[in-house]
Point group: C2
Chain length 291, copies 2
């Protein structure tokens, strides 16, 4: 069976390597991006270029967006010359951005209203996962559409789970960001305590990795913190954005999540002092003693 | 080379299976415990019984204590008929309890003053780890004594790390308890949000296990939370005790650890409402909506 043509909107730190993986796997890829440089790069590798998101949709069987936040998704999908204006009957719109579950459901309904189908499929695993094609993909939408997209998802990620109906992928992503944020804080506080008590944090990390405290974050971000390497990775400003989504989603569900609230405050602190461009493991730097 | 005789003080949920593993590996074991039942059990399996902690020390090359908290350790070591009164010249006292690093250093100094040697070697891995001999053991004390105890530690645990000098094992354990507490809260809040939004928490757990949110706690305690199985495991009242140690240790080091402070409050809430006997994963129950 021939590969469906994949439209790709958003060629940032995540989107570009993902689109490249689709291209290398043999999918025809039609790209659009706000800035021009990554478009030229992918066109040189065989991608086709479209002039607008609408044109991407007009030429594609599947349209992926992976941009920063709800307003950007709304702009490229519902705005002038947006995806919704060009979506083909039966084509699948897949949002791989991380946005609020409620906004996602509204956008999906709009696509369905125009004869398309929609999935939300946010990812976890960072730039490295995007490059290696080992992302976790959390999917909301109906089972048949999910199954149909299996070949594309399997090129982009390793752990692809359908969570539930439309919006459920975004809810899972919000859950993911809670766990990641709090675990980074946990590792940061532990390593800060070790250092402040004159104990080698590398030995503490090593000991903790063998027990109940084990996590991928203790492994990867623990090492970053010890090396003081805060080159992203995943920017603190983006994790702040995600914690705002968590906060809003929890409020709508009448839930009080004190840990998530604390981590929104921590990211606010970090970003407000000008460190939003640093990797989210830079939460560690909030604990250093003054002076 | 003959196995050294191991004195064992404390036959609780952790101590009993650990002493049994030493016995089965061929170490002569001399036991004492506040309550009589586990003593009889181990004596039936070949252990010898002593009338007091002092007598344990008088008959042993290595003396292990694993009891609840600093006052208990001080009682069995420094109290009347305690370990310190009976320690042999050159014998090694090993405290595997979780207590404050400062208290540990004072107790170790007392033992050294009486001609003995001392290690602190708190553990992580729970009852299952104690039974299976797969505990993490975090050791403080000098390298030569640590090396000498290698054969015993290897029977009790899998990941045995010397962290540093006296007290360093307890500092690593405090770090461990920060990470475990905050990660449990992270998983609890994430699964609570999923449920409140009408999404299957089991699918969310499964998706998150494949990405950056992966942790042993998401795996083990996530499953407990979904099944609402809060049979300990590790009691909330003990984790509260450990978070108090963390709090005091952070204060002494002039560190502000907001996550650790939050988790002390959470465990206080849980215990004060009468749920201190539940597994620490019962933090999940604090997030349920009222009514």
């Amino acid at each position: 069976m021939a590969h469906p043509t994949v439209g790709w909107i958003g060629l940032g730190i995540m989107g570009k390597p993902m689109a490249r993986n689709a291209l290398r796997a043999g999918f025809p890829v039609v790209v659009w991006n706000r800035s021009r440089a990554p478009v030229a790069e992918l066109v040189a590798e065989g991608a086709l270029e479209a002039a607008t998101p609408r044109e991407v949709a007009e030429r594609s069987d599947v349209v992926v967006t992976i941009v920063t936040d709800s307003p950007e998704v709304e702009q490229v999908v519902l705005g002038e010359d947006g995806v919704a204006a060009g979506i083909r009957p039966g084509a699948v719109y897949v949002d791989m951005s991380t946005i609020a579950p409620g906004a996602e459901r509204r956008i999906a309904a709009e696509i369905v209203g125009r004869g398309g189908r929609a999935l939300d499929a946010p990812v976890s695993g960072g730039e490295q996962g995007a490059i290696a094609g080992t992302l976790s993909i959390m999917v909301g939408g109906d089972q048949a559409t999910f199954d149909e997209l299996g070949p594309l998802f399997s090129v982009l990620g390793k752990n692809v789970v359908r969570i539930g109906e439309s919006g459920a992928g975004q809810i899972a992503k919000a859950c993911n960001q809670i766990v990641v944020a709090l675990t980074i804080e946990a590792v940061a506080e532990a390593l800060a305590l070790a250092e402040a008590c004159g104990v080698d944090p590398a030995r503490v990390r090593s000991a903790l990795l063998g027990g109940f405290a084990q996590s991928r974050i203790l492994d990867v971000h623990g090492e970053r913190m010890i090396a003081r390497n805060f080159v992203p990775g995943f920017k603190s400003s983006l994790h702040r954005k995600d914690m705002r989504i968590v906060d809003a989603t929890a409020r709508e569900a009448s839930l009080d999540l004190p840990g998530a609230r604390l981590l929104l405050e921590r990211f606010d602190q970090l970003c407000d002092r000008g460190d939003g461009e640093l990797d989210h493991s830079a939460l560690r730097t909030l604990i250093d003693k003054e002076g």
